[in-house]
């Protein structure tokens, strides 16, 4: 009886090993392990985020002089944001830019990845080269390409700053140059995971290359396509540095009512210009725009996270 009891106690002790040996003692070290990160996270994210949310319902020039708009005028800043022609223009311009850039980048990146997984000579070198622009910062990229475009357009006696369509296509070319390499890496990983025996079976069945690509390869790399699609989508919407450095919104159109529409200005830059422009009273509107922008980008980001997680579960 006594032996049995001791044995039992021993076993119980063993089964709670993980919590008593690892979990318990760690908890005592909370201040060291979590403290610094938590403090910085609150200062650098949580508090600014909450404060930003609250400020979008106030009138302010700086964070300390905010005045609540009152419940009757609760959404005044949001109404102002929606009635600002430059904001609406920026939204449609960004949306158009994003759609076009998503298409170009993904189609080209997939094509490059497809060829590079066909065992051609020098494909490692090509990978290295295509990925390289991804490491150069947005501001520097913008100035490199503004030099190139102006070098070309100079012979036509114009400049990238003078016509909206030059600014638009210029930015598309820039983004393709920067992002094709990145998306290519993701597509290559996806293509290499396509089961060899499936491809072989298709070959034996007499499928043409095009049929194999459409019916076997593409369905198998669908997860990579989803990732790249959402990545390019949110990159397009969030674009700031490249936009600022390449055209900074030029050319400007001056409307009759005195407002200015910066024709190549995208959402992020529009928000920035509203915050730090001439009119400090517009900061409430700017914060409201930022909240709207956040809702849009976060929705895209959460769908993407959901997708990647689902994929992880399946694996």
């Amino acid at each position: 009886m006594a032996i049995k009891k001791r044995l039992f106690r021993g076993r119980r002790k063993h089964s709670s090993l993980d919590s008593s040996l690892v979990k318990g003692p760690i908890r005592r070290w909370f201040p060291l392990f979590v403290g610094p990160t938590l403090l910085a996270f609150i200062l650098g994210f949580v508090w600014p985020f909450i404060q930003g949310m609250m400020l979008s319902f106030t009138k302010f020039r700086t964070t300390s002089d905010a005045k609540f708009l009152g419940f009757a005028h609760l959404f005044d800043n949001y109404i102002k944001a929606f009635s600002d022609p430059s904001f609406l223009h920026a939204f449609w311009y960004t949306a158009l830019f994003t759609v076009v850039s998503v298409l170009f980048i993904n189609v080209l990146a997939f094509a490059v990845a497809y060829v590079l997984t066909q065992n051609i000579k020098g494909n490692n070198l090509f990978r290295t080269v295509f990925f390289m622009p991804n490491l150069i910062g947005g501001i520097v990229l913008g100035y490199i390409w503004s030099m190139i475009f102006d070098g070309i357009l100079m012979s036509l006696n114009t400049s990238i700053m003078l016509e909206t369509r030059y600014g638009f296509w210029g930015l598309i070319i820039l983004m393709c140059w920067q992002q094709i390499g990145y998306m290519m890496i993701i597509y290559i990983a996806g293509l290499q995971a396509v089961p060899e025996d499936m491809l072989e079976a298709a070959k034996i069945d007499g499928a043409s290359k095009w049929q194999t690509l459409r019916k076997v390869t593409i369905p198998n790399v669908m997860p990579s396509i989803t990732i790249c699609f959402f990545l390019t989508l949110s990159n397009g919407f969030k674009l700031f540095d490249q936009n600022l450095a390449l055209t900074a919104g030029q050319p400007f159109v001056f409307k009759e009512d005195g407002s200015v529409v910066k024709t190549t200005e995208m959402l992020a830059l529009n928000i920035y210009n509203t915050f730090y422009g001439q009119n400090a009273d517009a900061r409430g509107t700017a914060q409201a725009k930022a909240v709207l922008f956040f809702l849009l980008v976060a929705a895209l980001g959460l769908i993407q996270l959901h997708n990647t997680r689902k994929r992880e579960v399946q694996q």
């Binding site: 909370f30 979590v34 990160t37 600014p48 985020f49 066909q118 000579k121 390289m132 930022a290 996270l305």
Partner: protein, 286 residues
């Protein structure tokens, strides 16, 4: 016979593809080549003869580099110095702090941990514009506006992705290793530093590379947070030169751009494998 023929055709096909891709690759590096060419060209010719080689009357020698370094009223090397300081200290701080927090969250798994983890995931999808105004004011009030204190801001804003990646990896490590260490009389701190940290090495490299690339190229955060009269980083410096001068010396700007991308390219060529792997691992952030 027919099979041999198709094999031959396929081989020829591949050679053609290699040639085509070699041409595209040349086109791909051409913008960087243009930066090199134009950094040795006299300012007046950068715009008119962008694609010409810098010889003869176009040549500026190393004049652009000398001018670029002393351009404006802020020496370029000071910006480069601050860029290095901020990138190195911030990345190091993020790595060490979030690795510890990631391990804690994955192992303790309490309600608090789960909330913090969710907040981290949430912070990954929040665009910087949402918090930029309030964050820069907070940083001002707390004197986090110097290169020596800005790492705290980077830790706060960059914690999300890093913790997300560390928690994901720690969950895949068997607990038994840590339990063995605990039975051998290892406290949590020692267990972490001498047992867990070495296992985390691949994730440390991936996260480190992501953070280094982000912080080195970041423009808006340091521009808004730092006290601009005293401190600049390389992206701020380049934007400042282009933005605030009526007539910009393009040759000198190209010289500065060249100097700022050489370290990046060297870094890339030396740890290319890790970089590509790290960047692909961070694809979830977007």
């Amino acid at each position: 016979m027919a099979k041999q023929k198709t094999l031959k055709a396929e081989k020829r096909h591949k050679i053609i593809l290699t040639v085509v891709f070699a041409l595209i690759a040349l086109l791909w590096v051409y913008p960087v080549v243009l930066v090199v060419i134009n950094s040795f060209k006299l300012n007046t010719y950068v715009k008119t003869d962008t694609f010409a080689l810098p010889f003869g009357k176009l040549s500026a020698g190393i004049q652009n580099f000398v001018k670029g370094v002393t351009f404006g009223n802020y020496p370029f090397f000071k910006s480069a110095f601050y860029s290095v300081i901020i990138t190195v200290t911030s990345s190091a701080l993020i790595l060490i702090c979030t690795a510890m927090t990631g391990w804690y969250i994955a192992r303790v798994d309490s309600k608090f941990c789960r909330i913090m983890y969710l907040l981290c995931v949430f912070s990954m999808v929040v665009p910087f514009q949402m918090v930029m105004f309030t964050l820069s004011k907070t940083a001002d009030v707390l004197r986090l506006n110097t290169p020596w204190t800005i790492p705290v801001i980077y830790l706060g804003f960059g914690a999300g992705l890093a913790i997300f990646m560390f928690v994901g990896f720690v969950k895949s490590i068997p607990r038994e290793i840590e339990e063995a260490a605990a039975i051998d009389g290892c406290g949590p701190v020692r267990t972490f530093f001498s047992v867990v940290l070495p296992i985390l090495k691949p994730t440390l490299i991936s996260v480190g590379i992501l953070e280094i690339m982000w912080i080195w190229n970041d423009y808006l955060l340091p521009y808004l947070v730092l006290d601009r009269t005293k401190y600049m980083t390389i992206p701020i410096h380049i934007q400042y030169l282009k933005g605030s001068y009526g007539t910009v010396d393009l040759g000198a700007t190209m010289a500065l751009i060249l100097m700022s991308i050489i370290p990046v390219i060297v870094f890339y060529l030396t740890c290319q494998k890790h970089i590509i792997k790290g960047v692909a691992a961070g694809a979830v952030k977007g």
